[in-house]
Structures are given as structure tokens and as C-alpha cells.
Symmetry: C2
Subunit: 195 residues, 2 copies
């Protein structure tokens, strides 16, 4: 997605060969027009799949997901990373390992909102080691729901998540795939969409 690649080139900050900071439009400050364009792109790619719900994870997955949900006319559910006062029964949970923070978190979704009749589009902001996506797939499976695919805003193509998911036969649609963060520069994979 050209608009997204341009935004990353212009505003992304390469913190190391592994970390790309996009706090100015996705992870802290959010650009609503870009989110709308991203939502429309996800909707376009999954329009034929009869998606019934979008499943994402707080917090940075929410903005692109809500825009995609608006475009597809379906609700969005965001998995919680921490316990909530009112989210306390009929929970579907999964463990998510964080390599960077070296900790394991439990993510949860209420079983009230996903069922075996659902066809889910999973959306997340970043795909790195794939642990969050695997956790969301795990939750979908526990609910007995079908997963049409995973929409990712920025995939770090040099980390294992993309391969891991695609090897499992999961359809992954990444709007930008970063292949390298060498010398402070962002290098994109030529093909945006590699199934």
C-alpha cells in the first residue's frame, strides 16, 4: 500500500535493526485519514469472504479495525491484555509471549461475542514474531469460529511471524512488509502481498 509505505518512510523512526517506531501515526498518535485508507484496503482484500466480525487486540489494532469494520459493516472485538472490571465470565483466553519484553501475557475475549457461526478477519498493527496473531487464532479456534485471514498493517518480514502463519496455511495480508532496518533506513519488500 503506497500511501502507507510513504508514511513509514517519512515518519517512521528506525530505533535499531529490529525496532521501527511509528508513534506519529499508528501506535500513539493516530492519523484518522490513513486509518480510513487502511480500513478500506483491508475491506477490499476480504470483501468476498463474508466476514461476520473483526477480531483485534488492544490498543493499536483498534483504529484500523474499526475503519475496516465500518467499511465491511461488521462489529469489531478487541482482545483485552489485562483483566477488566466487567469482563469476567465466559472468557476465551490465550497466552501471548512477548520476545521484546520477555514476558507472557494472557489475552482474553468474551465468548459472548464470538461463536461457531462466525467468520473472522483478524487485524493487528504489527506482525513480528507472530505471537499475538497466534493467540488470536487460538481464541478463534476455542470459539469454534472460522478465520478468513489476518490483516496486518506493518509486517516485519525479517522476523519469523509471517512465515510461521503462512506455513500453517493462514492467509496473511500485510499492507506493508519491511524487509530490513539497516543503517537507519527502511527497506520494503517489492511485492506487498505474498501469500
Amino acid at each position: 500500500m503506497k500511501l502507507l509505505q510513504e508514511k513509514i518512510q517519512k515518519e517512521g523512526i528506525v530505533l535499531s535493526e529490529e525496532v521501527l517506531k511509528v508513534d506519529s501515526f499508528l501506535n500513539h498518535q493516530v492519523d484518522p485519514h490513513l486509518m480510513q485508507a487502511i480500513g478500506m484496503e483491508f475491506a477490499e482484500r476480504f470483501r468476498a469472504d463474508n466476514i461476520t466480525k473483526i477480531l483485534t487486540i488492544e490498543s493499536s489494532g483498534i483504529a484500523p479495525s474499526v475503519m475496516a469494520g465500518l467499511e465491511l459493516g461488521v462489529p469489531v472485538i478487541f482482545a483485552r491484555k489485562r483483566a477488566s472490571l466487567t469482563l469476567n465470565n465466559n472468557l476465551l483466553s490465550a497466552e501471548v509471549k512477548s520476545f521484546t519484553k520477555k514476558e507472557t501475557n494472557t489475552i482474553s475475549v468474551s465468548g459472548d461475542f464470538i461463536s461457531s457461526g462466525d467468520k473472522l478477519l483478524i487485524i493487528d498493527d504489527f506482525l513480528a514474531n507472530g505471537q499475538a496473531a497466534l493467540g488470536l487464532l487460538d481464541i478463534a479456534e476455542k470459539a469454534g469460529a472460522e478465520v478468513a485471514g489476518i490483516g496486518i498493517v506493518i509486517e516485519k518480514g525479517f522476523q519469523q511471524g509471517g512465515r510461521l502463519l503462512r506455513d500453517r496455511g493462514v492467509r496473511v495480508e500485510s499492507l506493508a512488509i519491511v524487509d530490513g532496518l539497516q543503517d537507519g533506513r527502511v527497506t520494503f519488500r517489492k511485492e506487498e502481498n505474498t501469500l
Copy 2:
């Protein structure tokens, strides 16, 4: 806001005389069309105020804020409730007391994205004791930014937050004000907008 009141009546679950659960369209599952209507309503009420940025707090403030930002053509910044790997310098922070969880959290915003030239619209999902709103006002003040007002999706009018903020001269626009949660029923204040 009639559409919102109807949604609360239809789907809101009264857990106690103090707790209203709206997990089916705002706090866990999110209704994108309702969020768009809410965003448009906030935009309408603050259209004349030359807002430059929207300041909100993760996670449930994000969806209505991004829709309002889209309508007003301004970026959204969401305050973080926990430390982030990449959010680590030039931080503006505030303490937020939670009465229900009986704990105090630090919320943070990067000073890179708010400055003295900004005129902020603060948006949040719920207004109860007003502690989150006060924290966001504190952050705005630390940045030297002006605050045009606070937009709230659901105000619990029987708790002190609304009075606290309005007594300080802050403009508070609540799209629905719940005056009571007695006998499992939601009672709304007649006037939706009490300055």
C-alpha cells in the same frame, strides 16, 4: 444523543447501582457505525472551536476519537496506561486514581505530539469520578496546550466527575447522561447537554 440512548437501553447491562456494562458496542465489542455517529456528534459540537488535536486514553476512547478526528480532520493521541517499548522519552505523565480498582496508575503521552500551540478536544468513553479526565487535563496543562472541552460518550451523572469538571469551568459535552441504575434499569437525564 438518541441513537446512543437507545443502544444503551437495548444492550446495556446493569451490573449494580454503580456499574453499567456496555461491552457489546463500546468497551469490548465495538459498533463501528455507532462510533461514526458518535464521532460526528462530537465533531458537530466542537466544530467552531478550531481543534488541532484530540487527546484520549487507551483503549475504549480510541474508536470514538478516531471517528471524531476523521470528521474534524485532526490527529488523535491516545495516552498510554502502561509503559511502551518505544514510548520512553519526553514523557508527559499524570496519576490517575481508580476508585473501583483501588489503585493508582500513571498515564503518559509523548511531549513530541502536544505543544503550546495546540487546542485540544479530550474524549473518553465514560465519565464517572472524573479521574481519567483530570489526568488528561493535567497532561494538557503540562504541555501548555489549551483545552476546548471534554467529549464523553456516557456520563454517570450520579457520580461526581461531571460536577467536578464543570465546577472547574471545563466544558463537558456528554452524549448520554445516566442519572440512575436502580432496579436494573437505566434512567437518563432529560437534557443531554448540561453545561
